[in-house]
Amino acid sequence: MANLTINIAGLTLKNPVLTASGTFGYGTEFSDFIDLERLGGFIVKGTTLHPRQGNPYPRLAETPSGMINAVGLQNKGVAYYIEHIHPQLASLKTNVIVNLSGSCIEDYVEGARMLNEVETIPAIELNISCPNVKAGGMGFGTKPEMAAEVVREVRNVYRKPLIVKLTPNVTNIAEIAKAVEDAGADSVSLINTVLAMAVDAERQRPILSTVTGGLSGAAVKPIALRCVWQVYNAVKIPIVGLGGIMNATDAIEFMLCGASAIEVGTANFIDPTVTMKIIDGIDEYLDRHGCQNVSEIVGALKV
């Protein structure tokens, strides 16, 4: 039994296994299958200042070893979350982190200000990388100056750990990571989904209502690992790695590349108990490799 505790950005996780926003609802949907309090934490559904209906149907396409979604941040808004949803989660003995998105800087700032007031929300994940919304979203995450600006403004009002979620749909993700680090982010999480498209050849139509959407699942793991590795070599703040993690070995690969913690996304759909298996698998791996602390494997890749 190695020590699985890890600190990121001033946040203490009992283990490095988190769940990814948009793939874990508000956690409670999984309580029939797993003990939520065994998680290092979970990140709730993408939340925006104002409620959003999301994109029209169809929102889903299956692809080789992956899926494309075009949900478009359907949610009831920050105020509703704070008032009606968070109270049900607040007493859980794990970190309930809110994923905050926005279509303009003011919305991000206002949302962050409101979340800052809720004592039982230990951190936010700032989503500047959603490919599924017209205004803002990924737009903020593709230019270093824009990314830095939104982070700087949010930093002004948000006093707790601030994790910034990055998009892989850029020429140089390390540059973006560096920019948000300089602007005051405590941590970066990556990757969000990869911009992608699916076509119904017989009907000669795009499968998604929005034509393009975000690719996730096992197929993107090699891309995500590369991104984590590039960012690890560019910044000093801790990294939360995700993208295609399906099992403990995948999770360990991310940690070896420099992730201090990981998030499990799409894999929750295929096996709702997968997070528990990943925690156990990391534990077993550390024992087998004679590690006392999970932190020993972070960035331990021998190159």
């Binding site: 948009g22 609802g25 929102r59 889903l60 080789p64």
Partner: protein
């Protein structure tokens, strides 16, 4: 209702036709099948098929608690269902169930007469629904539609539960049953005042036609008078991914967790 993730063992795979088959399943570890509400569904993990990444939603066709068996009626549609069609006795299948809300059963009004309308493989959830309704003392009739008689599955099973009415597009008939040519909406049994509640599962156009027909009826003012079971592509089946939405009068609702059963009055049809 509590959900489970369970390995089932195939007791038998019965081919009904080229495209339709029934999987009879029992928990691999011998445990009891969990209580399921009529109209709920299961998410099946399809192993050994490289082109299937996500689980596949399949309605609960029947739960035989005495035999500790769950039956699934499945139609080959593509890669996943083709793979499922190859399962043999003793193969295992990982299933999350029971999911979704299921049809409303008016437990306080035992002598109601329900009409369960099904088309194609949409008849699947209606068998268990029929059994559960009967258990609550309701009267049950089925109205099943298809291109031809040969395409209407499980008629003998449905007859064990209630009257069966049939419509076929080609006019073919089944001995001893009230078979009429046309669509289900054209069958003479489907008349205002004849039934206290209607439950429908089948192709979208069929369900919409039924909804259009009954929505002017007086009974339609009752809550849950006409419920339909919708389909949609699903990623999680648990209400977390928001991929499977239907645009209802109350905004986007998840077919998997807010449905699959909806009251037609809540839909934008």
């Amino acid at each position: 209702m509590k959900k489970y993730i369970t390995d089932f063992k195939v007791v038998a795979n019965e081919q009904l036709s080229d495209r339709l088959f029934i999987l009879r399943l029992t928990p691999a570890d011998g445990s009891h099948i969990a209580p399921c509400r009529a109209g709920q569904f299961a998410e099946l993990r399809v192993d050994d098929e490289p082109r299937v990444f996500l689980r596949r939603p399949i309605s609960i066709h029947r739960v035989d608690y005495d035999a500790n068996e769950m039956w699934l009626l499945i139609q080959r549609a593509g890669r996943g269902t083709n793979r499922l069609a190859c399962l043999r006795a003793r193969d295992q299948l990982n299933i999350i169930y029971p999911l979704g809300n299921g049809f409303t059963i008016e437990e306080q009004v035992p002598d109601m007469h329900y009409l369960l309308i099904g088309g194609g493989v949409g008849v699947a959830p209606l068998l268990e629904t029929g059994y559960q309704l009967k258990q609550y003392g309701a009267r049950v009739s089925f109205l099943l539609g298809g291109k031809s008689c040969a395409e209407i599955a499980q008629v003998a099973q449905f007859r064990k539960v209630g009257n069966v009415y049939i419509t076929t597009e080609d006019g073919s008939v089944l001995e001893g049953l009230d078979c009429q040519r046309g669509f289900v909406t054209q069958h003479s049994v489907l008349k205002e005042g004849s039934f206290d509640a209607i439950r429908v599962c089948g192709p979208g156009p069929m369900m919409k036609a039924v909804a259009r027909l009954v929505s002017s009826w007086k009974q339609n003012e009752r809550p849950h008078f006409c419920e339909v079971s919708l389909e949609n592509k699903m990623a999680c089946g648990l209400g977390v991914c928001l991929c499977c939405v239907e645009d209802t009068k109350d905004g986007h609702k998840c077919v998997c967790s807010d449905g699959p059963v909806f009251d037609i009055k809540d839909l934008k049809w």
